[in-house]
């Protein structure tokens, strides 16, 4: 009896994952086919078979659409996993990938590069670093500085709640510094900073992707190994410890993994809102599970699929102009989550 239950469970989950994988590939291909420039579907297929004649179309797919689709896929997965880990670590359904102040740290790094750029200008010109890499580096430095401080605090603080509050306070303080920098700056710099804060999936070219893909890919792989500790943490700190979990070490590993995921995505794409917070909830509600061994791949696939869909919408296919991704994620995402909540008679999980 137990055997067949396990078998049917495996079969069920096998079906779910296969379906999601197929859906992911489908949405990926659709995002390659749609955009401001009209490229007929047949042409898109012939791109892969190597028979595409139109050179411009080829360039557009290779240099604009594929990088953008890959970015959406990676960012969606990474942010969603990061959100999942934070929600479990802090046992707080309102937690997201940026709760430890990562996006605030990134914002501070970028704000300093943009607003104090005139002092950095000399250094920048000498080093030959391009503007996009400058923003990527300063954003990463900002995130990981805040992370470092939070980790140092986590070593001296017993409960996760205290850590959460420390993260929030840092986020707040750093946000205030950014505000001050903005207040004293010229309009063009403020505009440049605001555009960074809109988040963008399409501004990466292959040279940046060559760095982003390995970092995010390895971190996603690492998050699979954190599923067991995360499952134990759901029981509560004391029960987890009594089950043999090294609390301090797990916390540090989870925080590092989350920061690599969220910090890297924020460095390359700017702060992308909503997905990290909502996708874990969507996964739990749709598939009725809190087991991280299953949730991890679920959330990765769902995150990738949804952000790809949002990006397709943001491209306003057929029109020459585009919308910023952050606008679309919340406008379409929030009603979806509300609909899911209303549909379910009660949430099967509680922290």
């Amino acid at each position: 009896m137990i055997e067949t239950k396990t078998e049917s469970s495996i079969r069920k989950w096998g079906r779910v994952f296969t379906l999601l994988l197929v859906l992911l590939i489908l949405v990926f291909l659709v995002s390659l086919a749609l955009g401001s420039v009209r490229i007929p579907l047949g042409e898109v297929f012939s791109f892969f078979t190597g028979g595409m004649e139109q050179e411009i179309g080829q360039k557009i797919i290779l240099d604009f659409r594929i990088p953008k689709a890959l970015t959406a896929l990676l960012a969606g997965s990474a942010l969603s996993i990061s959100g999942l880990q934070m929600q479990t670590l802090f046992r707080n359904p309102l937690a997201g990938p940026f709760i430890l102040g990562i996006s605030s740290g990134a914002a501070l790094g970028v704000a300093m590069a943009i607003f104090l750029g005139v002092w950095l200008g000399g250094v920048v010109a000498l080093s030959g670093i391009g503007r996009s890499w400058l923003l990527i580096c300063t954003s990463a430095i900002g995130s990981f500085t805040v992370l470092g401080v939070v980790l140092a605090a986590s070593a001296r603080v017993r409960s996760s709640i205290s850590l959460l509050i420390i993260g929030l306070m840092f986020g707040s303080a750093v946000g205030a510094v950014v505000g001050i920098l903005q207040y004293f700056s010229k309009a063009e710099n403020i505009a440049a900073y605001v555009f960074w804060s809109f988040g963008s999936l399409g501004s990466l070219s292959w040279s940046e992707l060559y760095l982003m893909i390995p970092i995010v890919g390895l971190s996603l792989l690492g998050s699979f190994f954190l599923s067991k500790p995360l499952n134990l943490l759901l029981l509560g700190d004391d029960y987890a410890a009594s089950s043999g979990l090294n609390l301090k070490r797990s916390r540090v590993l989870i925080i590092i993994n989350t920061s690599l995921l969220a910090g890297t995505v924020t460095a390359f794409c700017g702060p992308i809102a909503f997905v990290g917070l909502a996708i874990p909830h969507i996964a739990r509600m749709l598939y009725n599970t809190t087991n991280h061994l299953l949730l991890t791949p679920l959330v990765m696939l769902l995150g990738g699929i949804l952000l790809l869909i949002f990006d397709i919408i943001a491209q306003l296919p057929g029109l020459e102009s585009t919308l910023p991704i952050n606008a679309i994620t919340s406008i379409f995402g929030a009603p979806f989550v509300i609909w899911l909540l209303v549909r379910k008679s009660h949430l099967n999980y509680r922290f």
């Binding site: 955009g35 420039v37 604009f64 501004s203 020459e320």
Partner: protein
Amino acid sequence: MRGLLLISMVFGGCQLATREPLSGDHQAHATTFTIHTSGSETKVINTQPWPKANEVRAFTVQKPLKRVVCTSTSHLPYFELLGEVDAVVGFPGTQYISSDLFVEKVAKGEIKDLGSSQSLNMELLISLDPDAVIAFDAGGASGSLDQIQQMDIPVIYNSDFLEQTPLGRAEYIKFFGALLGKERKADSIFRAIERRYQMRAQMALNETKRPTILSGTTYGDAWFLPGGKNWSAVFFRDAGGRYLWGDDPSSGWLELSGEAVYEKAHDADYWIGVSTFETRQELLGQDDRYGDFGAFQGDQVFNYHKKKGPSGGYDFFESGYARPDLVLSDLIKILHPHLLPDYETVYFQRIP
């Protein structure tokens, strides 16, 4: 020094025309202001004081203004052309001024820095006792302007940024001429600029070949470029070029996706106007896809960074609006160099 050069370049092109009659109340090109003279009284009327305004503002010039606070660097060149540099006593953000004459005055303490143009330092403003504040309202909250008026300091609106043609914008020299009591001088300066502009535009019009033009760069996901009726687009057309978005009906800026711009402009002949980039290497540093554009590969990328102020600001955004004849000549020199063989560009230059 450069101010004298500027003025002599203008007067070099016309006779000392102090006896010519004023061009009258009707402004030939500007649509957002008029000047009404009746007897000895001059009234400066803003027909469109701010964006989407449905009221008109008027200022009666009882005596020429002697102490003025300006709020935008684009106001300053008119003072320089009219020889009224000493009339400016206060300015917000003096570190952004490019003109040498004004920078000198700031250094000597003759022009007070009033903070930011969105929120002027009221105490300093009152202590200056100006005759008027020349302000602009970009459509946001004009709280600080109301405050100034409550202190009995007249606020005169300047909506030159709403003008949609180069000559319309440059005609604002007459606006300042009326305020400073130098109507005749303003008129003759403008006529010289207008004459030179129209002559050169006519030369360019006669060219059969019209090179294609791309403009702008990306901010985040979107490529920002001027709309078809934008001030820049008018220049491209009058200089004998074909701006690839010239048919677009908007006078503001377009935000397009990178692939849309690539599709339309990958083989544009010229790429003119690239924000703050000064070398092609820097452009690649922001996005290496810029290197796929034909204009990039053919070394035909131009920017308006030739003339800079001490703080690194581009003078193009300060004095370019007052000298459309120079901007047009620069563009003609780029697009049709044989038409102006001895001319040297003032604002634009090729980026290496």
